[in-house]
């Protein structure tokens, strides 16, 4: 008998496919209409921090260096008010096996897949995560399929994505290259069903647990160098796993640094648009993922998302494409290191924030990524130009996404823009109400939602009464 492989039929089989491809029964964590036992789900995966560190050490993950960016710090102090200009540190995650922090995220999934006897792993991603899964699978003797959104209807591939696909193949993975569209998930399901491989989703507890070691390392490394914990951590934010895992690791180490999310502002560009696909110069770390995933995490390929960024986020800063390209170039000229532009999103945010902080304070950029042909700010800008986008120097706030990229003329023009956290929380509430009307919420739901946006139940009641939330 042949299975019905239409879009609708495959999506309808989602739950059973997910269950058999991960071995996690999410139903047991359900507590209410919206609520589930997040902490139990995280601890049930059965790995202590020491286990994670040991597993990661087996496959060239973790224990990456941390550097103080002395020259950049001095430069920021020159443009700051007297007494301002925090010390900027950078955690060089490009030193992980596949060239980014994503190796941490893939490491536990690959370990679990091998241990449970799966023949291979699959991940749907256009990003560094594909390379990470492929690299970890290669080391664990697993087959690997990466399902990747690569080209538009003219067959043109974003250079950064093309490079990441190449890297996956370099590690021996099969790379399924797809045109633009959310049906990536449909094809992931089909392939999981056909192969019986493990779903190395970004959003399982394994994926997030793997990043906790990063937060832990940052806390201890900064303390060893500076004699105390850092004051703020800037995280390049997209799906929320980087922020969630890092924050949990920091908290576990006893560090209460402020957690700042930072994304590239891509407002105005549609993420599923064939036309817009090649008119954005960032393929991750941008608002197209960052905002929707923060304000409703359960929109992913697993029933309950272990990446819940609003639980931990204290601030959210947006930077624009031109600002990140400027900082990427400055990092090379001033600090003598070339790193990929997407990872440098948080360096840009750190520059903006350090100006407001005192000189004796410490701000940490918590990741970098590898760079090379395709995955380089010059490639991105040259490609943008070939797609008809204007590239010039000037006031970066004048850039219009999809039409122009304006690279700052001076460091002082790198300012970033803080987002209104209350607005983001209200947006989460709206999504929650859309998911389930308030009349059906029980106490456990109220408590869950409050914790999920780092607020108390009183705040929740006050805001749920406001008119803007009534459907």
């Amino acid at each position: 008998m042949t299975r019905d492989n239409s879009y609708q039929a495959v999506m309808a089989r989602k739950n059973e496919i997910m269950k058999s491809s991960m071995g996690i029964d999410y139903d047991v964590y359900r507590q209410g209409e919206l609520a589930f036992d997040y902490e139990r789900m995280m601890s049930d995966c059965g790995f202590s921090l020491d286990d994670i560190i040991k597993i990661q050490a087996e496959t060239k993950v973790g224990n990456t260096p941390i550097f103080e960016l002395r020259n950049l710090t001095e430069a920021v102090r020159k443009i700051s008010a007297p007494g301002k200009g925090a010390r900027i540190f950078l955690k060089d995650e490009a030193a992980n096996a596949s060239g980014s922090f994503k190796a941490r995220r893939a490491s536990i999934s690959a370990y679990v897949a091998a241990k449970k006897g799966y023949k291979g792993v699959i991940a749907a991603t256009s990003g560094n995560y594909g390379a990470a899964v492929a690299s970890q699978a290669a080391q664990r003797g697993l087959k690997c399929i990466i399902v990747q959104e690569v080209f538009d209807s003219h067959g043109i591939g974003q250079p950064e994505i093309v490079e990441k696909g190449r890297k996956c193949e370099a590690f021996g993975a099969e790379v399924i290259k797809l045109s633009v569209g959310p049906e990536l998930f449909y094809y992931l399901l089909l392939t999981l069903e056909e192969t019986g491989f493990f779903n190395a989703s970004l959003y399982t507890p394994f994926g997030i647990k793997g990043v906790e070691s990063l937060g832990n390392e940052i806390a201890h490394q900064v303390k060893a160098i500076a004699g105390r914990f850092p004051d703020a951590i800037v995280v390049t934010h997209a799906g929320g796993g980087n922020l969630t895992g890092t924050a949990r690791g920091l908290i576990g180490a006893g560090c209460d640094a402020k957690i700042v999310a930072c994304s590239v502002d891509l407002n105005g560009l549609h993420m599923a648009s064939d036309r817009d696909f090649n008119r954005k110069s960032f393929t991750t770390g941008h608002t197209g993922f960052g905002v929707p995933f923060a304000t409703w995490p359960d929109r992913v390929d697993v029933p309950r998302n272990a990446a819940r960024s609003m639980r931990y986020m204290d601030e959210y800063v947006l930077v624009n494409q031109g600002e990140v390209f400027y900082i990427t170039e400055l990092l090379a000229k001033m600090e003598g290191i070339e790193r990929g532009p997407a990872g440098n999103t948080s360096v840009t945010g750190a520059v903006a924030l350090a100006r407001e902080m005192y000189r004796d304070q410490i701000i940490v950029v918590q990741e970098t990524e590898y760079t090379g042909a395709g995955k380089h700010h010059n490639s991105q800008l040259a490609f943008a130009r070939s797609m008809g986008i204007e590239v010039r120097r000037g006031d970066p706030t004048q850039g219009v996404n999809g039409k122009s990229i304006v690279i700052p003329e001076t460091l002082a023009q790198v300012q970033g823009r803080k987002q209104d956290m209350e607005k983001l929380r209200l947006s989460y509430l709206k999504n929650a109400v859309k998911q389930c009307p308030i009349e059906k919420w029980s106490n456990v739901d109220f408590n869950f939602v409050a914790a999920d946006i780092k607020k108390d139940v009183n705040w929740l009641h006050k805001n749920l009464e406001s008119k803007s939330l009534q459907a």
Partner: protein, 95 residues
């Protein structure tokens, strides 16, 4: 007629997974106007010509079928044409 490609050659195939009518309901209009297409590289399992319906075995030895499009596909991405606007940033400690 195009040249015959020998079995075992590294090739790229293409397959339409969903026609515009079969696409997901939430896709925007410009995307809906196009089919959902897959490309995969692998070793050709039998002699064929460009445009033929073929099967390849991928790097993990999985058989995948589609239309033969490219013989010995390779990567051409680069650092791109020089973007002069970047060159002067940070020179001589300039900020």
């Amino acid at each position: 007629m195009s040249e015959e490609v020998k079995a075992g050659t590294w090739v790229e195939i293409e397959k339409v997974l969903l026609t515009p009518q079969q696409r997901a309901p939430q896709v925007p209009d410009d995307t809906r106007a196009t089919p959902y297409v897959m490309r995969v590289a692998g070793f050709l399992t039998s002699d064929a010509r460009v445009g033929d319906e073929v099967t390849v075995r991928t790097l993990i030895d999985r058989p995948v079928s589609g239309v033969l499009k490219v013989i010995r596909p390779h990567y051409q991405h680069s650092f791109g044409e020089t973007v002069e606007e970047l060159l002067t940033i940070g020179l001589g400690g300039r900020i």
